[in-house]
């Protein structure tokens, strides 16, 4: 395959005058495709934390009053 010779870094960045549009497109794509997983991971972690809290609360109840109902299946 023939590698495209960009001549200089400058040529690569300006993309023959279309630099703003090309890099703008790739830029926004990169930003959104990094942001989305980050936000989702956060949501996942929050869900885990809430679960841990729930568990602590339930076990706290069970410890303080031994005749409680067993936990939900």
């Amino acid at each position: 395959m023939n590698l495209v010779a960009w001549g200089s870094l400058d040529a690569f960045l300006t993309m023959g005058g279309y630099g703003l549009y090309v890099w703008g497109s790739f830029g926004i794509t990169a930003v959104l495709m990094v942001l989305e997983p980050v936000l989702i991971r956060q949501r996942h972690r929050q869900a885990l934390q809430q679960l841990a809290q729930e568990l602590r609360a339930q076990e706290g109840d069970a410890a303080s009053s031994p005749q409680q109902e067993p936990s939900v299946k």
Binding site: M1, N2, L3, V4, W6, F12, M15, G16, G17, Y18, Y21, V22, G24, S25, F26, I28, T29, L32, M33, E36, P37, I40, R41, R43, H44, Q46, A47, L48, Q49, Q50, L51, A52, E54, L55, R56, Q58, S71, V72, K73
Partner: protein, 250 residues
């Protein structure tokens, strides 16, 4: 030989760890296809005769468009499965895919605008593809909005499932009508769809990027699905027995 139970992984308890194992592989595939696609797209694919370097936007625009449409189809598929089999995980998958599909639609519109501006002088063109993409975004927003506005999760799942199915039936009708509309109102004399006749390397880069976006969408959807499963199954034993949760306790 035990019979394969098709519904084995429709239980949230079995789905959760399985999805967890798949996700790193999907990220690896995303990186692999992404890097190779970008390499070929920028260092192998030649300059276009008509559009110069500006055409390279298609390496993100086209994958985003295809994904936005594919995800809607898959989403509607899961919605239909949920209605047919009454499996709550199907609804979760549909809900998990929607925001990613909407993101793809937004990306398609934004990159489409950025492509159109230098080529045809305006930030927005009412050509058939962009207009259909906009309407698809509306359908995504409607789906997500309906689910968000109904408090009862079960009802929200089923109602938005019906909406997704109605939408998926409408999509070809909408696309056809928009194409018709576009050809008769002579205002739009140019079309974003008349892309340059593709050289082989351009096509290769585009396909690689499409696979990259596809793996990305699956990874993100699975992470979101796992988060949603935890949120919905908060009071169950299996969720509370998860090692991650137990670890978080100490």
């Amino acid at each position: 030989m035990t019979r394969l139970n098709w519904f084995t992984f429709s239980s949230p308890a079995t789905f959760y760890p399985l999805a967890g194992k798949c996700i790193p592989w999907l990220w690896a595939i995303t990186a692999l296809f992404g890097l190779s696609g970008l390499f070929i797209g920028f260092f192998v694919a030649p300059t276009d005769a008509v559009q110069g370097e500006g055409y390279r936007i298609i390496f993100v625009h086209v994958p985003a468009s295809w994904m936005s449409m594919l995800i809607y189809l898959v989403m509607a598929g899961w919605a239909g499965a949920g209605l047919m089999f009454n499996t709550r995980l199907s609804y979760v998958m549909a809900q998990a895919l929607a925001p990613t599909g909407a993101l793809m639609a937004v990306l398609s519109l934004v990159t489409g605008s950025l492509w159109g501006k230098p080529m045809w002088g305006t930030w927005w063109i009412w050509d058939a593809r962009l207009t259909s993409e906009l309407i698809l975004l509306f359908l995504y927003l409607g789906y997500m909005g309906l689910h968000a506005s109904i408090d009862d999760t079960r009802r929200a799942d089923k109602a938005s499932a019906i909406l997704a199915l109605v939408g998926v039936v409408n999509v070809p009708i909408i696309y056809f009508s928009v194409k018709w509309w576009n050809t008769l109102h002579q205002g739009a004399s140019v079309s974003l769809t008349k892309s340059p006749s593709m050289g082989q390397t351009m096509l290769l880069a585009m396909l690689l990027m499409t696979f990259c976006f596809w793996a990305y969408s699956m990874a993100v959807a699975l992470i979101r699905a796992r988060a949603m499963v935890l949120e919905r199954e908060r009071y169950t034993d299996w969720a509370q027995q998860l090692p991650e949760v137990r670890r978080g306790q100490a």
